[in-house]
Symmetry: C2
Subunit: 236 residues, 2 copies
DNA sequence: CAGTATGCTAAACCGTTGTTCAACCGGGGT
DNA sequence: ACCCCGGTTGAACAACGGTTTAGCATACTG
């Protein structure tokens, strides 16, 4: 995956400076809004040099993807955290100032559905699934009919705290584009409560859902009217 | 909020056609990638006419925001569904072909953090919070220490099924940018299970979280190291 | 030392795109 | 019939931005 030049010492040169500047700009403005001249200015070089080193803006994005992804995955491996959610949140909170850029970059990548975004999401879902299965096995977590889907659900919930950080913050009365530590702290207890006791006090919703799913399983064309009733019942 | 011209009959003219075409393009390509000439072509008019009617691309976006938001909120009011999550999902599944564009448009608006996006999110969070409070009151739902934060959590989870639809689908083995009915169906039961029984089999995580929050409450500067330990403990 | 590769810049190129402008056209009022 | 006015167009304008190119300096090589 690494595509760096031969020597790791030579990596601290213009090419690396451009790449780091690009990561900042892509994270802050998104891929399309970010422009090469601004990136070059941040890196202290000319626009032409960016192309000279990376070939094109798209290739530059790939190099950034590669770099951020490698860095984050390496850190995740180092800490050897069992749960994807925990791993992400840990990196986020360990040193907000240092990792904010990478977090923002990956949030953008996920929101814009870039290759790097797909990779992180898949990695986190896989790891979360493993945790869910292990938890069910050792009894620390409930057994689910579809661990994969549960992993997806949990992953999306935690990722949404980053991709929709501004919405979360605003809904809680904070402002600023990133999720402040105070906002994160406020979400911690409710998450634990929800993941411990659930939302519903009894299992009526669950029973209605299973019934509806079983009833409409293959008896109707797989995409039209019964879905509506199912969800209506399941969430009322 | 409505800014339509006086007569609803005259609304079916070029101005409306442009607006509808713009909604499609903004939904499919995002605001920045969408361009006026393509929008004009879809509407069957010239690029100049778009400016003549709306003044600028930004103003056109506002008009689209206005239109989609009004349409969706009106429909939500009609159905009078108690729960924001349910209301959104219902519209989504009632007739995917018809509402897909509006759903996509709002997903974009939320992901790109546009004014319209903020408005829908806030509306859904508010309504969800009301449902959570009512549920706790009538005993159908568990009581939470922070209903607002729970509402945010639930809202983000359901919204992530739209803003990150491609990731959800891919993680489940489907493809395509939108969440297929089959994928939605597969998520239904796990959601019900998670919201009924929770994720954890006992309350150790919850207790650890409350302890950690209480312990670090005001004893340390509000944004640095203890947060890390808190989350590490809470999710391991 | 000559020559050649390498890192780099400045300027130009050129397609895209939001916006402006002058003209046109059909219809209603005088 | 004339005028005028709103809707509409096509061309032109101007800015932006990715990419190309020519050139320059420095360093390494024969």
């Amino acid at each position: 995956m690494r595509t760096e030049p031969r020597s790791p010492i030579a990596d601290l040169n213009a090419r690396a400076k451009i790449r780091d500047a690009a990561v900042v700009h892509f994270a802050r403005d998104g891929f399309r809004k970010a422009n090469l001249r601004a990136i070059a200015a941040t890196a202290g070089v000319s626009a032409g040099l960016v192309i000279h080193h990376f070939g094109s803006k798209d290739a530059l994005r790939l190099a950034c993807d590669d770099h951020v992804l490698g860095s984050v995955l390496a850190r995740a491996r180092d800490k050897a955290t069992p749960e994807g959610l925990a791993s992400v949140l840990q990196n986020y909170l360990a040193d907000p100032a240092e990792f904010q850029v990478q977090i923002d970059y990956l949030s953008r990548a996920i929101a814009e559905d870039s290759p790097a975004g797909r990779q992180v999401v898949d990695a986190i879902v896989d790891e979360t699934e493993a945790v869910v299965r292990a938890g069910a096995f050792d009894g620390s977590m409930n057994a689910f009919s579809d661990p994969r889907a549960v992993a997806v659900l949990i992953t999306m919930t935690s990722l949404s705290m980053m991709t929709m950080a501004s919405h979360v913050g605003r809904a809680l009365g904070f402002d600023g584009p990133n999720l402040s530590p105070a906002a994160m702290r406020r979400m911690a207890l409710p998450s634990a409560e929800l993941y411990t006791h659930g939302l519903y006090a009894d299992d009526t919703v669950l029973r209605v859902t299973t019934d509806a799913l079983a009833g409409s399983d293959a008896t109707t064309p797989p995409n039209h009217p019964t879905q509506t009733q199912l969800i209506r019942k399941a969430t009322t």
